[in-house]
Symmetry: C2
Subunit: 499 residues, 2 copies
Amino acid sequence: MPTSHWAWGPEPEESELREIARLFSEHTGLGDPVAWEPPVPFSPALLPAPRLDVPPLPFCTADPFERAVRTYGQAYRDLIRAYRGDFANAPDLVALPENEDDIERALEWASGHGVAVVPRGGGTSVVGGVESRFDGPSLCLDLRRMNRIVEVDETSQAALVEAGATGPEINAGLPEGLQLRFFPQSYEFSTLGGWIATRAGGHFATLHTHIDDLVESVRAVAPAGAWESRRLPGSGAGPSPDRWLLGSEGALGVITRAWIRVHRRPVHKVSVPVRFTEWVAGVSAVHDLAQSGLHPSNCRLLDAREAALTSGGDGRNPVLIIGFESADHPVDAWMSRALEIVAWHGGVAGEARQDQAWKGAFTRMPYLRNAYPGLGVLAETVETAVTWDRFMALHEAVMAEHEGTTCRLAFVYPDGPAPYYTIVVPAVKGGELEQWDDLKRRLSETVLRMGGTITHHHAVGRDHRPFYDRQRPDPFALALKAAKTALDPAGLLNPGVLI
Amino acid sequence: MPTSHWAWGPEPEESELREIARLFSEHTGLGDPVAWEPPVPFSPALLPAPRLDVPPLPFCTADPFERAVRTYGQAYRDLIRAYRGDFANAPDLVALPENEDDIERALEWASGHGVAVVPRGGGTSVVGGVESRFDGPSLCLDLRRMNRIVEVDETSQAALVEAGATGPEINAGLPEGLQLRFFPQSYEFSTLGGWIATRAGGHFATLHTHIDDLVESVRAVAPAGAWESRRLPGSGAGPSPDRWLLGSEGALGVITRAWIRVHRRPVHKVSVPVRFTEWVAGVSAVHDLAQSGLHPSNCRLLDAREAALTSGGDGRNPVLIIGFESADHPVDAWMSRALEIVAWHGGVAGEARQDQAWKGAFTRMPYLRNAYPGLGVLAETVETAVTWDRFMALHEAVMAEHEGTTCRLAFVYPDGPAPYYTIVVPAVKGGELEQWDDLKRRLSETVLRMGGTITHHHAVGRDHRPFYDRQRPDPFALALKAAKTALDPAGLLNPGVLI
């Protein structure tokens, strides 16, 4: 359950934040640690009065703190508002259902009172997916109490898990030796239901990149009824019902549980950093690796600046981290061939590692953002996917938008990469939202114009919505809207998202 | 273009059919080659008069032969009717569009005249997916003239192909060294559009089993407009539009072209047959292979009888064919580990082969069926997918339904296999349809009861429809119906399929 009204994780000490800010500023030359601005402490007075009476449901509350910690996701535009004590869009009510009956009762009540319902998991959306950014009263339906592992089928390597379970909760609850191999950067807090609703990306750089590939069946509750697909390893019976819920962002139903594919814990793991002198050489190497059929579990190309910031690079050379993992067999043959491929492109391999140190650093990264508002820097990330033939042009266009933009290729497919861009700039004090919105708009326009998708794994939410509307085929939008109306006739579920 | 009014492929000589029938009967003890019944020769009088005037569109015809060859798919219940000269359900008209304009004009005309439209590719459906089995007049919209390769992007290994192109046409049209690695048993005649509409299965036994995995973007024409997704290697922007068309069986739109992922032609190929003394040992070996992360391209377990019939087995031992292929690297390490795994289950490896002789035999198999009606044998195949924990119980239940049923595991996933059952029995002369329908019903009931899907890669069509309706979640059916109505308000497209 969230415990800070603004921070990633628990409320940090100011001294700790100041120290991170100082180091960050020293390293990047960004922000002013001296002019430190502390967060506005929580006070019930920060919130507007709820526009609704608390319903006669024992799992509902209008407690201001509970509302405050569920007002936003984790975009910078969320962070800065919460930091400054702006909770204008707080939900009027928070529901914490313990089971599907509770959810059905909440939906029934909401329907009777014309109240919008915003389903919420870990609240780590960076695209405004969980914010009540619409007119009229809202109920935040927080699934976090529904976090049990209901059943495990070790023979089929699958588990039935409730939607509110986080990454660590799932892995802690699985039998010894089994793991969900799915580590998004939000791993610590984000939930299974959230991953499915947003088509989240995990840590596999190739093959099973999205949660889509790990889902065996999904159960959801819509105003029109409960929806559960049959548990199947594969099927060709009509369009996949699961694929309609994957990416539905809370608009088609409340995802309550899913059967997911789990893996044996890998015992053979090896990771090799490879240094390139040129970005394009690294890109060519990744292109060939992606088309090699070797399916590395990690294949993360960091440009020189990003490598310096996150992986101990020297600031001059791009670094490619290649990793293979297996619970079944040594992966030497795989790695040998991968290193042959990258060597052909001039890549120089560093020392092989058995552990995966990057993973800890990777999930610690969001904590760094806690220091940004106080320091006066603004951050935005833009991620997309694009076919190889268009990638370099897209890359140059995005990099040209803003000096200091860094890039990594986080996921790769045979037909193209999913580049991830990070922009950290001095914030315009008091005008951060306009500044961020302007940056977002320009970068999103560039991505669309150059043939990319508006999002590879951050979802659409409210921030990507105008661009998503332009990207999707018109008749598909018609069909999606009709499906939504059939499932949610009163339009209660997460209004403004997708439809 | 189809040239026989009943046969798989061109009209065969009777002497040739009699010879195949004699051999088959000798081998299996089934049927009576002496009491041979020849096919009813084609005659325009076999067809009902068209209920419509030919529209003023140059690509439309009411020619009886063109209608006859497009009356059915390739199920046994289709074969026997065509063989006997029953063309009661012939479409009234055939349209052979050369481009999307033609399709739009045909849809417009059909809409104005209240005529149902049945999109058709190679016409190899075995589930009644392309039969005008409904009241009222119908237009068969045959896409076979739209068979061009429009564009190839060698960098991204992708090609834009028109929906009416068959497997051989696609591979012949790709640049030297590139191939679509997708070989369904119907490869010779089935089309890209048909594969997408039915979520067809190819030859990869693991990973990229369905055409779903090879599709980069799809374009379709619906009465509500043309629908084209952006060409992307991956995306997380809402539910995937492509996944709505995949499996749509002509009911949501006419698929006109798609960008598909192609592969470099493999240069490293090895295939090893492995003999088991017990079926369950073979199943255990496949289970472990499926969970090993080795991703064999072939992993086909044939029970003893099926092995004898199709792969030169001795009739006593199940045979597992393991294959690896790569355009990038020798596959020895992969095969070595796979053979270790199967040896642990008692599998005895035969001689490795570089070629893939099974492929020729595999695509020749449908020709064998041409001999069945004359011989008086009836055939049905049932295929499904089921999680491992339920597989053995399902298998035993299906095998118990009918003596002489054979089984192969055609596709395998970490969480379960896709078993394929073949039943060939003496036909009840004159009562074949009832006999087949009864067999179908019993087997389908068993599959559903035991937790399988009604189809892994044969689609729903009209024959699986009642079982599909029970399998899919009710709210999903509501949503699908609403989507259909939005896209095809008059309900012109392939009525009775899916919705």
